[in-house]
């Protein structure tokens, strides 16, 4: 009872509970959050998808597309044409075909000045045709796109998608009901062509060191309302995968994803999320595991910030877009979808999008999909994530309380002789707890005890600022380091992949020595204050990041939070080494390598171990390189975020771990 009304600082029961059980509470919160999150994959915790936008009216009309023969004819012609040009796009043929269908056809040139090497550039060519809506005034449009893949490209071919698109263009041009212009776009060089086209369409200002020279478009068709990207490697597919993850983890409106699933269902085309069909009995334990697998797979994809298809680049411009990807699994005799079915699905999609009166704004932009017809909205997953993330805040709070307590104790120690002990009576009640906390907070640095306490507090903050500044500058150095590394590597004829990887490794190793250099030059900073600051910073990063790229924030929280709880300087050498190893395991560079390697192992399970190891090394180097290049070309911010936010946090943690453990407080 008395604790509630006690005005004394050390007597706050909340802070006492916090100080007494901080570790347990943190672990408990983390575990509750994690289990809660995993449970969200079960159908009792998530919800059935529904259409929020009434204007879409999906599947209200019967599909009339009958152009399969036409599509196959286009496919044959295109294949013939492709044989003539093994490495470039047959844009003359495409342009001629689109023009003959009555579309306003244009080409678009772009150039990439490779940022990792001087004087290295690639050129490309997109072809697009605009079907002008009858009676329309070209104030709105829908995009149907397909990437062109030359036979020499490492990806599967995409000729059937282009053939289907042309057949659809033919069919659409005969219809009168269009209210929006439809742009048929064939891009070259995968996402590069799409990025150039989009930048040009939106009249972006040229970058100051021009990385992507995106050229000029001759004609446009107003704001793009939605886009569907096609990737169909063969004219018969076993199922259709609807991909939705975009650049920097942005997602399209859930209504658009639902629309595709609904129309696939209507046309009896098997449809999947992350290439995983729905479980037959989702309410069972195996159903939960199945959905959990799907959920984690989409989280992993979203966290990379790399779009899972060309659609992902539209999201930045506020355009909802998905990729319809035809997949073929070896299972013979299964039901197959032909170009006719796919054409019907796309016809329905375009007609629904044509019905839209307003741009997508209803429904959800933040969601996770555990199955094709289930979703977890932001309101459902955020509390679980909040529980996980709040262990960081809790830790910071307890550290703050304990440092305050320490200051008070020091204050009490110094003028103990001349201060009358007014609160003696009240203190007796909480005496037991107080001694407990005193033991726990090994406060009172011997050398600061001689100086005035308030000065010690200020000094501590100043030195904290210095430490933080140094660590963040290291992050800034790391953000432009790859360019330097690759330029330097080019001098000694090293491949850009290798030079960036080696350079980053070297920088990381050098930065490992930063704490010892810091402790030598900056003194008077208790590790508690640093750890408190770093926990707060990490909490801010993950909570702010969860609204930008939820999956990335989730993974960072899941990986960093337990380590952050554990990190504290110890006198035991073994424990210290173990903790250092743990910290090294969550270094951003190590994390990148780990995720890339796990991905490689999952994708190539049948390789011999040595080859797999080599592959892991290559894949890790590539992952690093791609993240750097993507940040230059597409504005992917995973690499900058890792450099500017995560690396400083890690360095500060490393600093905390290597600081001297403080001797226990001398009891007054």
């Amino acid at each position: 009872m008395g604790l509630l009304t006690d005005p004394g600082m050390e007597g706050g029961w909340l802070s006492n509970v916090l100080l007494a059980h901080e570790k347990i509470l943190s672990v408990l919160l983390y575990c509750v959050g994690a289990i809660w999150f995993l449970a969200l994959a079960h159908n009792s915790m998530n919800h059935e998808t529904y259409f929020s936008e009434n204007a879409l009216l999906p599947g209200l009309v019967h599909g009339e597309f009958m152009g399969e023969a036409k599509a196959n004819r286009f496919l044959q012609e295109l294949n013939k044409e492709t044989e003539k040009y093994p490495s470039t796009m047959p844009h003359a043929w495409l342009q001629a075909k689109m023009t003959q269908l009555g579309l306003d056809t244009y080409t678009h040139n772009f150039t990439l000045h490779y940022p990792m090497a001087a004087n290295k550039s690639f050129t490309g060519n997109n072809v697009y045709g605009i079907l002008r809506a009858v009676r329309g005034s070209s104030s709105e449009s829908i995009v149907l796109s397909a990437p062109y893949r030359a036979p020499r490209s490492p990806h599967l071919g995409n000729a059937p998608a282009i053939a289907l698109m042309l057949a659809l263009a033919h069919f659409f041009s005969e219809q009168l009901y269009w209210a929006k212009d439809i742009i048929f776009l064939v891009t070259e060089h995968e996402q590069l062509g799409m990025e150039a086209w989009l930048q040009s369409y939106h009249g972006s200002l040229p970058q100051s060191p021009p990385v992507l020279d995106f050229g000029k478009l001759i004609a446009r068709a107003g704001p793009i309302q939605a886009a569907v990207n096609l990737e169909i490697p063969e004219s018969f597919v076993s199922h259709v995968d609807i991909r939705y993850e975009g650049l920097n983890g942005q997602l399209p409106n859930l209504d658009l994803v639902n629309l595709l699933h609904r129309l696939c269902h209507r046309e009896s085309v098997e449809h999947t999320v992350r290439n995983r069909a729905d479980h037959r009995k989702p309410d069972t334990a195996s159903g939960w595991l199945h959905q959990l697998h799907t959920l984690l797979s989409s989280i992993a994809t979203q966290a990379t910030g790399v779009p899972s298809g060309n659609h992902g680049l539209f999201h930045r411009y506020g355009i909802s877009a998905v990729t319809v990807s035809g997949e073929r699994v070896g299972r013979a005799g299964g039901r197959r979808a032909t170009l006719l079915h796919l054409g019907r699905v796309l016809e329905g999609t375009c007609r629904s999008l044509n019905n839209l009166l307003e741009r997508f704004h209803q429904s959800f932009f933040f969601y996770l999909l555990p199955a094709t017809s289930r979703y977890i909205s932001i309101g459902v997953y955020m509390p679980a994530f909040g529980a996980m993330g709040s262990c960081l805040l809790l830790g910071a709070l307890s550290l703050w309380c304990s440092s305050c307590l320490r200051l008070q104790l020091l204050q009490a120690e110094q003028p103990a002789s001349d201060q009358p002990d007014e609160k003696e009576s009240s203190e007796t009640q909480s005496d037991e707890k107080l001694t407990e906390t005193r033991e726990q907070t090994n406060a009172a640095i011997p050398d600061t005890s001689s100086t005035p306490v308030t000065d010690s507090g200020t000094q501590s903050l100043v030195s904290l600022a210095c430490v933080a500044l140094v660590c963040h500058s290291a992050g800034a150095v790391a953000s432009w380091w790859p360019t330097v590394a690759s330029r330097t590597g080019a001098v000694v004829a090293l491949h850009a992949d290798d030079s960036v990887a080696l350079g980053s490794l070297a920088l990381a190793l050098v930065l490992l020595r930063l704490p010892s250099a810091l402790t030598r030059s900056i003194t008077g900073c208790s590790w508690q204050v640093v750890k408190c600051a770093v926990q707060l910073e990490l909490a801010v990063i993950v909570f702010a990041g969860s609204l930008l790229n939820f999956s990335l924030a989730l993974i960072v929280t899941a990986v960093y939070a337990p380590v952050v709880i554990a990190v504290a300087p110890t006198s035991s050498r073994l424990v210290r080494w173990l903790k250092c190893l743990l910290l090294l395991a969550i270094h951003p560079l190590t994390l990148t390598a780990t995720f890339a390697s796990v991905d490689a192992v999952l994708n190539f399970p049948n390789e011999p171990p040595l080859a797999l190891l080599m592959r892991c090394v290559t894949v890790s180097k590539r992952a690093l390189m791609y993240s750097v290049v993507d940040s230059y070309v597409y504005g992917n911010w995973v690499y900058p975020a890792a450099c500017w936010c995560l690396l400083p946090v890690w360095l500060l943690l490393w600093h905390v771990q290597l600081s001297a453990p403080l001797p226990p407080i001398t009891k007054p």
Binding site: D104, R135, S137, S138, L176, S204, P223, H361
Partner: protein
């Protein structure tokens, strides 16, 4: 603005004046020269009240595979009263209506109108594919009116009343025109009819407004048809069925009233001219051929002429097809008219002319002109007209952006182009960063800044577009936040910006479809363009711009939340305000539960210590306080 003191500015200023002059030079008559002539004629014409009506149809197959049809119904009216009011710039006094529609005449009379142009259009005229139209019109509704000289406030009132009257007359939402979307631009809209320089150069008598969002449908067509002397009972208007009309790629209803000359050349006898027009662009490929018949185009052949019309004509543009190799016409035309300065010249035009009165009187069948093409139509690159403008919004997100217009000139001479932008106030323009790219120069001829909810932006600039090149203008803007009631029901659809106007004087008449002189008698006269410089006015696309839109479900949420709070707060507040606070001594009476628990404890030999008893006592008082409810314990 940017080039203020160099020579270019002077040159552009001169070209601006040139455009101003060219646009009305052919009909700017001088009263001082012709005063005597007018006086001498006046005596003869005092009793004459002439009015005439003609109906004409032009069919032009376009190289893109489309067919352009342009119906024109012209009513001309001259009498001494009209003549004197036109010459003295006074309000018209119309009486004894004959062919002229009274519904429109009364509106014109009442609101000091001298010249009125209204277009209601659905679809965008694609200049690069279809060339220039007979009269260009932007998507939506556009109204521009020249009033008789009067003070500004009188004209403002007249304009406000006029748009409401026209709104009722044509069933269009013209009543949404108010001060915030009205402008009086300097150069772009000169009088197209008779006007003296002092009047034509004073744009304060002009009002221009455009509604880009206006949808045009049968409810506009029906009142428009009623202005015709024969309605749709007979004549060319009887083929204007709604369904082929509204499935066309482009259709535009026009009402153009202007003072014109009865006598070409001298221009001494002014008359009132009303042109009602319909423009259609259709595509009816049959078996891959561009074949067309009147029945195919309008779902009906022409079976009658309007008996009031002194002239009922059908023209088919056969320029480049004089030998009939590309397509052949059946039945053959009554006459083939060749205009212009000879084969190969820029003004060379050939028309197959069907005199409908003659044709329909000689045979009992309806006239169904059919064109049969020799070859299948192949889509190919169509070489567009010399000056084309495209406009788009650059940028993304909800904060800023810029309006960009690309003016391309494929001709061999530099062009000076007047570019007019009328923008709503909720865009905030930034003039200091407005710029042009390419080799073009810019001279800002008029700029009116916007005032919130009162006045829109007017940006009129003269731009030089280099030969075989293009100039891109960029107008950066940010978006304003509207009040929540100012959003339309479909707020997330976006807001339409009206089309920009681009006017220029082209050096040759090669791509011009129709001339805009005031002394032209009929459609055929307009189509027979003269050699030399020609004025074109074209419109760009309308733009859709999204404004930052609040979540409109938010008020609902707030209402729910507020109601919950009120409901929750009501009980306690009601209790506090209606019940008395009485201090009550609490007897330390034992409740049933505590006696039982105490007995049980004693039974099992627990020591009941003092602290616990005290706690129990506190708990008891708490439960007491809660239980009695009416007696809060004041401590």
């Amino acid at each position: 603005m940017l080039i203020s003191i160099n020579n270019m500015a002077v040159v552009l200023r001169l070209t601006a004046l040139l455009i101003l002059l060219v646009s009305f030079s052919s009909f700017a008559y001088s009263t001082s020269n012709n005063n005597a002539a007018i006086d001498s004629k006046c005596s003869k014409e005092t009793q004459t009240d002439e009015s005439s009506f003609s109906e004409e149809l032009l069919v032009r197959p376009l190289p893109s595979g489309h067919v352009h049809s342009h119906f024109e119904f012209t009513t001309k009216w001259s009498n001494p009263s009209i003549k004197s009011s036109l010459e003295s710039y006074h309000d018209l006094k119309l009486s004894h209506y004959d062919l002229f529609p009274r519904a429109l005449g009364e509106v014109v009379e009442k609101y000091h109108v001298r010249e009125l142009h209204l277009t209601l259009t659905q679809g965008l005229w694609r200049h690069h594919k279809w060339g220039y139209p007979v009269a260009d019109a932007p998507p939506g509704a556009t109204l521009w009116v020249w009033f008789n000289p009067a003070p500004k406030n009188v004209l403002d009132d007249a304009w406000r009343d006029l748009v409401n009257a026209l709104s009722g007359l044509f069933c269009a939402s013209l009543n949404f025109i108010d001060g915030s979307n009205t402008a009086s631009p300097e150069l772009s809209y000169r009088p197209s009819g008779l006007a003296q320089p002092w009047y034509a150069s004073n744009s304060s008598y002009l009002r221009v407004a455009a509604l880009a969002r206006e949808n045009v449908c049968t409810e506009n067509l029906t009142p428009w048809k009623k202005l015709l002397p024969c309605d749709t009972k007979a004549g060319l208007a009887s083929v204007l069925y709604p369904s082929p009309l509204y499935s066309a790629h482009y259709h535009s209803l026009g009402v153009h009233l202007r003072p014109s000359c009865q006598d070409p050349g001298a221009c001494t006898r002014p008359q009132l001219e009303l042109v009602l027009s319909v423009s259609l662009v259709q595509q009816r490929l049959q078996e891959g051929r561009q074949d067309f018949t009147l029945r195919g185009l309008y779902s009906s052949p022409i079976f009658s002429v309007c008996p009031m019309a002194y002239k009922s004509m059908l023209y088919v543009d056969v320029t480049g097809n004089e030998d009939g190799r590309t397509f052949s016409l059946s039945p053959p035309p009554s006459e083939v008219v060749t205009r212009g300065a000879g084969l190969g010249s820029a003004s060379h035009r050939v028309f197959a002319v069907y005199d409908l009165q003659e044709t329909l009187s000689s045979s009992r069948d309806a006239l169904n002109v059919a064109a049969r093409y020799a070859k299948r139509h192949t889509y190919a690159h169509v070489s567009g007209p010399p000056l084309v403008a495209t406009r788009y919004i650059a940028g993304y997100g909800q904060e800023g952006g810029s309006i960009r217009v690309v003016l391309s000139n494929s001709g061999s001479e530099d062009l000076s182009v007047v570019y007019l932008e009328l923008l709503p106030w909720y865009l905030r323009l930034y003039l200091h960063t407005a710029h042009e790219t390419g080799q073009g120069e810019r001279y800002l001829s008029q700029f009116v800044g916007a005032r919130d909810r009162e006045q829109g932006w007017v940006y009129e600039a003269v731009v030089r577009v280099p030969a075989r090149g293009s100039t891109e203008l960029s107008l950066p803007f940010t978006r304003a936040l509207l009040k929540w009631l100012e959003y339309p029901p479909d707020a997330n659809h976006g807001f339409y910006l009206p089309a920009a106007t681009v006017s220029a004087v082209l050096p040759t008449a090669r791509n011009i479809t129709a001339a805009t002189a005031a002394d032209t008698g009929s459609l055929l006269d307009k189509l027979s363009v003269r050699e030399g410089e020609q004025l074109v006015r074209l419109y760009t696309e309308t733009l859709l711009v999204t404004l930052p839109t609040p979540d409109f479900s938010m008020p609902y949420n707030v209402i729910c939340l507020a109601c919950t709070v009120v409901a929750l707060a009501f009980g306690p507040i009601h209790n506090i305000t209606t019940k008395r606070l009485v201090l009550k001594k609490i007897q330390p009476s034992e409740s049933f539960a505590s006696t039982v628990s105490g007995k049980v404890r004693r039974l099992f030999g627990f020591k009941v210590d003092v602290g616990a008893e005290a706690d129990e006592g506190a708990a008891k008082t708490d439960t007491c306080a809660a239980g009695t409810d009416a007696a809060p314990v004041a401590t």
